[in-house]
Structure formats: structure tokens, C-alpha cells
Symmetry: C2
Subunit: 249 residues, 2 copies
DNA sequence: GCGAACCGTTGAGTTAAGTCAATTGTTCAC
DNA sequence: GTGAACAATTGACTTAACTCAACGGTTCGC
């Protein structure tokens, strides 16, 4: 109960009040210009969209928005890293996604009705995001139907990714879920090994994979002792992905 | 190993060879005309799309497509019910979604590159689907940018739904996952109770929720004995959803 | 530079969920 | 209609994962 109250209290705290910065540094928006949602935009339209947006600086652990809050903006990550999570009625924090520079999030809100954020978003470290008004982007699409193609392609990819995430979570045991997660972190799939960096602190990866931090730690220790991975902080060396997959039966 | 071989053997079996029927029964395509992806299409264009499509009749347990197969078509369910599932390397069957009449599936393949089905699709009972060529729909969008808007709205909704499905799966214990699943089946959310029908046989709901059929059965029996639900075959009566949510802490 | 937080790891004990097996009820094909 | 396959349930047992607790190692604020 005390927990529940704490959660509700958080709803009343103001968010989206971070310091905004002038948007004169063109170079740092290069990534934006090459994102699937924006790269087909005419410079004039993109500039107009950027003009209507605000650049936010977020500190470590700073909350950007809350679940159920009306969603008037979506976001593009310029630098840093964020995570999406939900709180359930008993206050348990469940991590759903992490977002890297060059990615968009909450962009599906463009067509939600009523538009409300489906989760919390917070900075995992000092970060910069571009806060784009949903209405501005929608207007752009409404007046330039040819732009919808690019957005469509991005949205389809997003749906595929979410489907894939769901697929991992239907794996019934913790070890195999973790192995699947690690394989997916490899840039080239399962073909060849490589070093991967966990996109989240270990305790949050655990939460993302629906297991306890202790379980996560034990599985990793076990994989390590079997020579399947090497662990250096949040960097993992996977030398033989095929063997890892074989282990997961 | 024997299992693995069986799986691979299935890959070689021909699919998509069901009997096609003439598309003269206009009435049964009414649902198609009101679907978000098609309702804004001019009659001429919709008719042309339908002309290029084939209507398939699928028998009980008949396979429609296999995971990893090149995806040249997406589908609209006219009648019956289908399920999407994946097989892992050891042959375990994991159910990912069920699809009701009036719904589309594999439609995200329009923008996949290369387009390959991400899972298996099979009929849960005798069903009819419309098999729409990906290329035909893409051409329609390419030549009529104004149509993209409708597709965009549908794709955004799809991404939101998948995100929500993922969210349920990060719930760590089987009972709470099942309760969340049941609540979501209620048409009016958690506000008032009602009777819901499981969209899948119980053993497949269990698979969808990453638990064993025995566990599913035991949890349901327990909820029943606590007066939280009434069970009649695949129909469940949820009289007090709020109490059910409270139980799941 | 020091202590307080926090993160990650490890150990010990407990519990939820999986496994195996037996039984009944249903559905379906012939 | 009958028997074979399958779906669902229940019991007994095992095990994977959770919980609680203690303990190093880092990081961060002062």
C-alpha cells in the first residue's frame, strides 16, 4: 500500500521541464537526417519540424515522461541512452526497452487515440533528446502524403522488432531467454562471434528478461565457467555463438 | 536430434496449395472493406486488389506458411481462426498470436527486406483467408500516396499491441501473467466484468503465456475455487475484474 | 579522500513451476 | 457408433528460479 501511494505520488510530479538548448549545432542532428522517418523529408520541411521541436538535456535517472500521461510529443535520441519501463500496481519496475542514439521512441503515438504514453521513459545516463510535437509530424504527413511511405517502412520494422521481442519472452526458461537475448545483441546474428555491450545495467537486463538479478548473475557465471562467454563488466565476448545456441537445446 | 530432423522435414513439404474459390461472394468480403488498411481505398482499387488475390480454404490444422519462407503474400481472415507460432531448434512449439476473422496478419512483410515469414501460420479450425500479393498492395501505395495514411495508422496500432503483449510477458510469475491476459480479453478493459472466450485451446494459451498446460490448468482451478472466475469450457466468466487485479498484487 | 549508495556476486533455504504419469472427457475419423 | 487421438485435469515428485541475507567492488557526492 505504501508502495502504491509512492507510485501515485510520482504521477503528480512535473516532468518534461528539462532545460532546452538552441538548435544551432547542426552536426549533432546529422543522425536525425539519416533516420528512416526523416531522411526523405525535403530540407525545408525537416528544418521546419526541427524548429517546432525542442532539444532536451536529461540528467542521470531523469524522468522524461510517465505512463498514462497525454502524449503530445515523440522523441529522437541525440546522445546518451534511455530506457522504457512500466510500474505495476505493487510498484515493481519492469524494463521493456532501451534506446540508443539515432533511435526514435514513442513515435507510434502519432496514431494513438487518445495518445497516452504506454510506459515511463527515463535517461540511463546524461542524455540529449529531440522532443518532436506529434501534431507537427502528423501535419507534415497530412500535407505530404508521399512522406508516409518512409514512416510506414519504419513502423513496419518496429512491429517486426516487437514481435521478435515477444518471441524471446515465450521461451520458458531463464537461461534460454538470456542466451537468445545475447545472440540477438551480436550485430551479425549468430554467424560469427564478437564482443557485445549490454545496453542496460545487468539488473535491468534481468528485469527485461523477466528474471531476478541473482538469477541473471548465476546464469552468466555458469556460461562463463563453461567457457561459452567471457565477461568484462558490461562487455561480453561471445566466441562461438553456435555452441551457445546448441547449449540452449 | 530426431525432433530436429522432423522439423527440418516439415520445411520441405509444400504449402500454400489450398483450393482457391471464385471471389464472387461479395458479402463475405464486407469485413475486408471496413478494415483500417482497406476502407479508404477507392472501390476500383480495392476491386483490383481483390482480383489479384486468391481466396484460400484451410482445413483444421492446415499449415498456411512456414517460418523463414519467402513472404510474397499477406493475409486477411474471412472466417475461422488461425494461430502464429514458432518452432525452436529442439522442436518446441511456441504460440505467439491468434487471429480472428476481420484481422490481417503478416502484413508487416510489405516492408521487410528480404521478406520472410517470421513464424508458422496454421488454421485452428476450418478457415477462409484472402491471400493478398505483397507487391500488389505496395504498388497501390506507391501510386496512391494518400492511401499510406490508413496503412500507417494500422501499423502504428500493431506496434502498440505488440508492445503491450511484450509488457505482459515481462511479468515474472505465471499466475499474474495469466490474470493480465484474462483482463485484456475483456472487451471493456477492467471496468466491468463479463464472459470471455479463450481465443485458443487452453494448452496453446499456456504456450502463449510461457507456461506448461498443467500450470495453466492449476492456476485456473485455483482462481475458480477462490470464486474469482467461473469456467465453462473455453468460456470464462469474470464477475469482478478489479478483485482479480488486486489478487495479482 | 572518505563514506554512503548502489551494483553485482555468492550462499542457503524456500517456493513456484516444471516433469512424469495416470485418468477422464471430447472430438473426430472411419 | 465405436475406437483412436487428443485435450484437460489431477497427483506425486523434482528442479529451476525466487527470496533473503551477507559481502566485495565501484561510483558518486561532499
Amino acid at each position: 500500500m505504501a508502495m502504491t501511494q509512492a507510485v501515485e505520488q510520482r504521477y503528480t510530479k512535473p516532468v518534461l521541464v528539462a532545460i532546452n538548448k538552441p538548435l544551432d549545432e547542426e552536426d549533432s542532428l546529422q543522425a536525425l537526417r539519416s533516420h528512416a522517418m526523416f531522411r526523405s523529408l525535403r530540407p525545408k520541411d525537416l528544418d521546419s519540424l526541427i524548429q517546432q521541436s525542442r532539444r532536451l538535456r536529461l540528467g542521470h535517472h531523469q524522468l522524461l515522461y510517465r505512463q498514462d500521461m497525454p502524449a503530445h510529443h515523440f522523441f529522437f535520441v541525440i546522445s546518451g541512452r534511455l530506457r522504457l519501463y512500466r510500474l505495476d500496481s505493487s510498484g515493481v519496475d519492469r524494463t521493456l526497452d532501451s534506446i540508443a542514439p539515432g533511435d526514435c521512441f514513442a513515435e507510434v503515438m502519432i496514431y494513438a487515440d487518445p495518445p497516452r504514453y504506454a510506459c515511463y521513459a527515463e535517461a540511463l545516463k546524461s542524455s540529449e533528446v529531440l522532443m518532436i510535437p506529434v501534431k507537427a509530424y502528423r501535419d507534415l504527413l497530412d500535407h505530404n502524403p508521399e512522406y508516409a511511405q518512409a514512416a510506414l517502412s519504419h513502423y513496419a520494422k518496429r512491429a517486426v522488432t516487437r514481435f521478435h521481442d515477444l518471441e524471446i519472452m515465450t521461451v520458458q526458461n531463464a537461461r534460454d531467454r538470456l542466451i537468445r537475448y545475447l545472440i540477438d545483441l551480436l550485430p551479425n546474428g549468430a554467424e560469427e562471434g564478437g564482443e557485445v555491450e549490454l545496453p542496460l545495467p545487468k539488473c535491468l537486463v534481468a528485469s527485461r528478461l523477466a528474471m531476478q538479478p541473482e538469477t541473471f548473475s548465476r546464469i552468466l557465471a555458469d556460461l562463463k565457467s563453461n567457457g561459452l562467454i567471457r565477461v568484462n563488466r558490461s562487455r561480453l565476448l561471445i566466441s562461438d555463438p553456435q555452441r551457445l545456441i546448441a547449449i540452449s537445446q
